[in-house]
Amino acid sequence: MNGSEFLFLLVGLKWTIFLSAIGFVCGSISGLGIALARTSGIRPLERGTAGYIALFQGTPLLMQLFVVYYGLALVGLKLDAWLSVAIGFTLHASAFLGEIWRGSIEAVPKGQTEAAKALSLGYVSRMRDVILPQAIKISLPATIGFLVQLIKGTSLAAIVGFTELARAGTIVSNQIFKPLLVFGAVGALYFLICWPLSLYGARLERRLAAASH
């Protein structure tokens, strides 16, 4: 593997990070909406979002990407491959983050809500100033854990035909016939991004566990 082939992998890596970032940011925004709807106390909203979450947690990410990819084309939207894939990851992330954050919101002691109500705070202020800041702290380890899952998941964009890190690896491997070297390097690049995040998540989890004892 010479310099230009490695550079090709790095370009793939850039797309991997880009896809992960879009999926995570857009997924966070819609995931927050889902978590709030899931804990809203409004029956149809709770049921609907519960179904949405179950759908995404009960099917393979690869199928979700396929269905979104071909579904968008079917309704007449001619989108670039990266945009279709990014929408797929956003929907996927919104369901998983929505479920993680639902758990965190429910983990905030009920007395907090009652106290906020007693102070006659409205829903927005109650959530923004009282519940969510505490919930975010609780949810951080799991959220980072999911981010690692999402980064690894972006490799499936390769199967749909989008050239990110994993597919860049396949292309280079087909050119130079050294699959072990190439996929070893690709794996190492993923590891370099994911491992620090995992370590950070584990550290936060330990700290949170220590704080709650």
Binding site: P60, M63, Y70, K152, W195
Partner: protein
């Protein structure tokens, strides 16, 4: 939107798809068995007195958990022949699933083992059980109760992961779907129905495990 849905290829392919479901479940089951073997072996090595062995297990777990399954399965797919092992895609996929699931199983099982207090192990030894018996009866069984929920959700995750094995054309639902799609170009219909099949499988598994938990792994001990 003037697209006309055509489910005829999916309906014609339904028997194939159902066989594909069995392929998926078989792949997941075989992978899970291997994962459990690796998991138990890994936990024993992880807490061994030899530093090198402990370090090896820790690196294995971190390496597998921080790289994508797709890259792992490609790597194993190309590495096995170089090691002189020639296997069909399906057994190769089972090995890859077992290795991947094994890393997660090590962490889950270790959590269960750690939930057993040292006093119980000492009590077992004091009663004259030898080390193997203590591990089996005092550590493994109660630990199994503690980890059963995590292991079963890991099993469901592994079942969903099998769809990636289509990348090396192992026999399972997704590769069956890809064949039907290649012949009919009804991508959305095929993948939509297949997604529902996966949903049905994971839902059935969830219900089944919930039943088993309620019957065998709940307190008071039955």
């Amino acid at each position: 939107m003037n697209y006309k849905f055509d489910f005829a290829p999916v309906i014609d392919g339904l028997p194939d798809l159902l066989w594909g479901c069995l392929g998926t479940l078989g792949l997941a089951l075989a992978g899970m068995v291997l994962a459990l073997v690796i998991g138990i072996g890994g936990v024993v090595l992880r807490d061994s007195p030899y530093r090198g062995l402990r370090w090896l297990v820790i690196s294995f777990v971190e390496l597998i958990r921080n790289t994508p399954f797709l890259v792992q399965i490609y790597f194993i797919f190309f590495a096995l022949p170089l090691a002189g092992i020639r296997l069909d895609p399906t057994p190769t996929a089972i090995i890859a699933l077992g290795v991947n699931g094994g890393a997660y199983a090590i962490e889950i099982i270790r959590g269960g083992v750690q939930s057993i207090s040292k006093g119980q192990i000492e009590a077992g030894l004091a009663l004259g059980l030898h080390k193997g018996q203590v591990f089996r009866l005092v550590v493994l069984k109660p630990a199994l109760r503690a980890i059963f929920p995590s292991l079963t959700s890991q099993f469901i995750l592994l079942t969903l992961t099998t769809s990636i094995a289509s990348a090396i054309s192992a026999y399972e639902l997704t590769s069956v779907a890809q064949n039907i799609e290649n012949n009919s170009f009804r991508s959305f219909e095929v993948y939509g129905v297949v997604t529902l099949l996966y949903l049905a499988m994971s839902w059935l598994m969830m219900r089944m495990f919930a039943q088993i938990t309620a019957r065998h792994f709940s307190y008071p001990v039955k």
